[in-house]
Symmetry: C2
Subunit: 355 residues, 2 copies
């Protein structure tokens, strides 16, 4: 996502700003810190679609009663390698961190552990949770149900599926884990919105119109549905991530899923699934890390396509973005900066830009 | 895959034929039965790319010394929820079944269990293993490294990745589990071979030429590489499945991966990862199954796109194919029937067709 008319705000400033607003609307201090650290990590990593651009809707949902600012996660059922937790309709970022922490703690004796979550909300970037696992020398998995249905089952013309992101992260000897973080639609709906505003056509495989048939008309596409990557394979993948995220806990799926932006006074009952595989339970950690070194080198040192200067590992660009943003500040589009500033005014909280 | 000039052979006939040939080349009776049942399930389900079409190469690899007909799987390391097994260079179908059986047995007390495999071979259809888990009321995962590198890292022009299939299956109250089974390339290489033979162009997103740049020329594409679905996302997904399949066990990855068809006297050291999540450790099985019923109905009863008569669940078409093929026999392309018949002649084993 490119950002035009950018201003830059320091991570610290943005952190203080968001934390203070959450505290002002009833979120306990410690919880607010967890949420904001998680949220800003997305902006630092250049994943702007899941950063502070979403902050206003999280605030609105708390104010409108759709999200519980004082949520206390509880464990509904537990075995030595599984748990089901109720997020008490708390902010998804908080519930997610607590649930992944539970998985990591339960795996401290070396077990594979999975934790299913219900009564949660939009949890931001799926990579945040799997990176927690990777820092503990575990392969991490996270799956979530999308917070809006924009996709049909294959052959359908009715939105029954979200874009259902998921992530897997691997510990490495690099300064970053290898981390897959993907949603299941070919293109983000935001790109279709941009094309519609500019009156431009979209590629034929991005979306269907309301009749379920492929369209290159962006306006028709906005009345219709986004398409999964890889056609019917992508439908199966989207459904799979959705079922993993909800069926073990009883979170909402399919026709029960509300709209993050439209029904701000109603609980979303979002679901997630977190999993960890402790590497040392399979092999000596150093053996594994040496194999990862070799795998990383295989990718990096592969012959390059014409005009390609460098091959990246999944998660590497995001890590480079993070280093840069910690130094130079986080770029915000002008409209977003304006929106946040106005939100701050209501609580007498300033958001100073660097430049 | 459509099959022209078909003949039909009964499942029983094809089973006896393949089992006897395996026994003739040194595979123990019980092992041969496991392999052939697994192999024919793919044909029954209409997944012809992973059925008896591969049988001749499996036989050749045993004859040439690349695969061990008398393999005995051993456990290299084990905890209560993990195991690493050495497949002793056995037929992948046998190693896979034994490794998934181990995972299911280890999960009998309700634990999440993952089993990593090294020294295996091409294991056929990934769905076979996850369906074993689903029949035991567990969500099953299987991941495997592809047996040939045909894909580059994103931006590369050197094959370092296979198409790395994976599967997830969910228990249901239907007569079949919901089962995702997908490889990571947009199009099977076989489709490019067909286009090249017919002198037809291919879609621009199917493959690149040897320079790593997109091509619509099928002949150039065959000198080049298949592309992952979803672009860079697909590269990340392919790499992830490959790492899951190999890094915990020490199976070959990247530059070490040989070619199933070319290096028939050399062990492939293929890797897999199998995982199971016992549903009842998360929630009462009946609650879960009722939620699955509702999810299935959401998909099936969604409004249909113009001209679409029926919406299928992942795995449903394959199940319907299986019912039909058990009754009518398994369709074989004429060339394949010929190839199998000739193979049989060497051992005085007949393959009678139904019609």
């Amino acid at each position: 996502m490119s950002i035009e008319n950018e201003v830059f705000v320091s991570e610290k400033e943005l952190n203080t700003f968001c934390t203070q607003i959450l505290e002002n609307i009833g979120v306990p201090d410690d919880d607010a810190k967890i949420v904001v650290e998680n949220l800003l990590e997305a902006d630092l990593r250049g994943v702007y679609s899941h950063g502070v651009v979403r902050f206003p809707i999280y605030v609105k949902r708390i104010l409108d009663g759709g999200t519980n600012p004082k949520a206390k996660m509880s464990i509904l059922k537990e075995t030595r390698t599984t748990a089901v937790v109720d997020g008490d309709n708390g902010l998804g970022h908080l519930v997610g961190v607590q649930a992944m922490q539970l998985a990591i703690e339960k795996a401290s004796e070396g077990d594979c552990v999975f934790v299913a979550v219900k009564n949660s909300n939009h949890f931001g970037a799926a990579a945040y949770y799997t990176e927690m696992a990777a820092r503990n020398n575990m392969i991490g998995f996270s799956f979530t149900i999308g917070a809006i249905n924009h996709m049909t089952p294959w052959g359908g013309a009715e939105a029954m599926l979200g874009n259902n992101p998921f992530s897997v992260a691997f510990p490495t000897r690099e300064s970053f884990p290898i981390v897959l973080d993907m949603a299941c639609s070919i293109a983000a709906r935001g790109k279709i919105i941009v094309a519609a505003k500019e009156g431009k056509p979209i590629p034929a495989d991005w979306a269907t119109g309301p009749d379920g048939l492929a369209t290159t008309d962006a306006v028709e596409a906005l009345k219709g549905f986004v398409t999964p990557l890889g056609g019917p394979k992508g439908y199966a993948l989207t459904l799979t991530v959705g079922l993993l995220s909800t069926m073990l806990s009883g979170a909402f799926f399919g026709s029960d899923v509300g709209d993050l932006y439209d029904k701000t006074s109603t609980a979303q009952n979002s679901g997630h699934l977190f999993g960890v595989l402790p590497v040392a339970s399979f092999d000596d950690l150093e053996n594994y890390l040496s194999r990862m070194d070799k795998a990383i080198n295989d990718m990096r040192n592969a012959k390059k396509a014409t005009d390609v200067e460098r091959i990246y590992l999944p998660g590497e660009r995001e890590h480079l973005s993070l280093i840069k943003a910690k130094e130079n500040g986080i770029p915000l589009g002008h409209a977003l900066y304006q929106e946040l500033t106005e939100l701050g005014h209501q609580y007498n909280i300033m958001l100073r830009k660097l430049y």
